[in-house]
Symmetry: C2
DNA sequence: CCCCTCAGCTTAAACGTTTAACTTATTGCA
DNA sequence: TGCAATAAGTTAAACGTTTAAGCTGAGGGG
């Protein structure tokens, strides 16, 4: 069996309380002698505190939960890595949950995490379903009093910490770039309309277009779901309508889907049609396609989310963070 | 505050023990009446057991640890998803740890996980460093008596459960395919030599070549590290030597790296040089490159690892699993 | 010489469960 | 009627910590 604080106490000839105080650094009131002795014995026995017992007593677990739709999504994998690195630095661990875009699962996970006494949650909201359902998770977290940080600023509203890229700036940059290439008719493949990020990006994009004296055409905007297949389908739809020389997809996955369809139809990218993505997932850097993309600092988002969450856990308030583009 | 078993007991006019028995299903000795009453109150109060307390008492945490080098690696992300799905089904959770290919971190994580009272560990061993260091983690786990399952059969030896693809079969299949295309001079970019998987794959590949009356040339085999950059570097080296019409890379990442170098040098894939990968990561399905690859059922590997581990945790023994190729 | 202070501990309760051992009232049966 | 068996609980200890409160002996001040 693993040695406990009592085993150490027995060998040191002290009480368990003394050992606890020494090992947890609250040992001002313990003599140097005793302290050294206990420390030596702890080392000798290779003592590690039973975190479960500590958790029970202290009512904290030094564990965070990360809920995302699917860790196989490059975006979330990077966020996870950023978050976990940050956790490690703060002596925390990270529980990973895949919600598979199901709100039922999402709330189930929240219950489980709560049951495990999780200290906080980073929630990457699903990109499908209704806004009401999406809000349920947030309400549940609030009601349980679990500190949390949202990814992607999915839900707008007060008292929600979130970390995301600056969608307004991102949309503007994308427009800027495509305009500089001389495009005047640009098709857009957006995300679901109820996501604040999608809306912001779109309106910033449109605003910049209007500034340039162009009228963004409603007929050239289609909503999709951030997936490869979704992007392909959306692009096929756009091709049926025609009349554009560039496509701005709201993430790289959809951009790649669009590329595949364009190529199938014999259109060259970027000679015939320019395609612009958003995310800069690793994939798009390797792929042969000359895909222009706007980098989302995913690792940094995870890192920052962790930082904010750790702050919240320690009771400090935090204001939402926007990332600027490099 | 969250309701405890005692709150329920107070309202039901029973003792806490009775409530515990009812709620944990060991209630043969409790009357239907009392049972119903307790259940109703528990529901009304929305009671959830404090898992930390349960863990302390039962000395199990219903939590598994997954240690991989980097979750951003597509391979590990899929394994993680497979494992987590399996965990969920068994009422378990999954802690994610990124070792960043550092054995120090790996052992640190094992200590932390142990401290948290983890029930088991799935270990995706680092692909760099020496075999001695690699074994340390395994020994540590054994010494602590933590059930574990290895990914990729990195370390050979008795009493190690592992889940991996059938490298022998995989190597043979790759040779088969390239031979059928008429290649006689095939360059190979392998993984580190000390990984059993690499060795097996290579020897099976070579064996099949010899069967076909070909002499695998030592000068056309270079070791690399399973990374994109590593694959590119290895390919450049091979090109300096020359004399091959096909490249077999031991994973898709290196294969893509090789492709990029080939293209840079003005060689067309697959017209001038055939490139064969191994893994079938999502990336390679999207990429424009006509990359032939041997599918590794990554999700299934994670799933199976979870199944075995859960079995081990319940005390059942398990024999190593090999996956066959579809 | 007595009391106070203080260093340096120890005691014991608490965190929320589980479970072995015990209690009590009821029933069955000779 | 008496006694055992049983149903339906209760009690209390335990898991490994933390920590407020209590205790003890030595040294110092008056």
């Amino acid at each position: 069996m693993r040695p406990t604080i009592r085993d150490i106490a027995a060998r040191a000839g002290t009480s368990a309380a003394t050992v606890s105080m020494v090992l947890s650094g609250k040992s001002e009131r313990i003599s140097q002698q005793t302290r050294d002795r206990i420390l030596a014995i702890a080392r000798e026995l290779n003592y590690r505190p039973n975190q479960t017992a500590v958790n029970l007593k202290m009512n904290r677990s030094r564990t965070l939960g990360l809920i995302v739709s699917d860790i196989r999504n490059d975006y979330y994998a990077s966020v996870a890595r950023g978050l976990e690195d940050r956790c490690r630095k703060s002596g925390m661990s990270m529980l990973l949950c895949n919600s598979a875009d199901s709100y039922t699962r999402e709330t189930e996970y929240i219950e489980v995490l709560d049951s495990k006494g999780i200290d906080g949650v980073v929630l990457g909201m699903s990109s499908t379903g209704s806004i009401e359902k999406a809000k349920r998770s947030v309400e549940l977290l609030q009601q349980k009093g679990i500190p949390f940080v949202l990814l992607d600023r999915t839900i707008t509203g007060p008292s929600c910490n979130s970390v995301s890229t600056d969608d307004t700036e991102g949309g503007r940059l994308a427009a800027e770039h495509l305009l500089s290439l001389g495009h005047t008719h640009i098709a857009v493949i957006t995300g679901p309309d109820y996501l604040a990020g999608s809306r912001l990006r779109l309106s910033a994009f449109s605003a910049r277009m209007r500034e340039a004296g162009l009228r963004p055409e409603a007929g050239l905007t289609v909503h999709s779901d951030y997936s490869y297949a979704g992007g392909a389908k959306a692009c096929a739809e756009l091709l049926a309508r025609g009349g554009f020389s560039a496509v701005f997809a709201f993430n790289d996955m959809m951009a790649l889907g669009a590329c595949s369809v364009l190529r199938e139809r014999g259109l060259r990218v970027p000679q015939d049609v320019s395609v612009m993505g958003f995310d800069d997932i690793f994939l798009s850097r390797i792929v042969d396609v000359p895909l222009t993309t706007i980098r989302q600092p995913m690792y940094e988002i995870g890192d920052k989310a962790g930082e904010i969450l750790c702050g919240l856990i320690e009771g400090r308030a935090a204001s939402p963070i926007l990332f600027e583009y490099p």
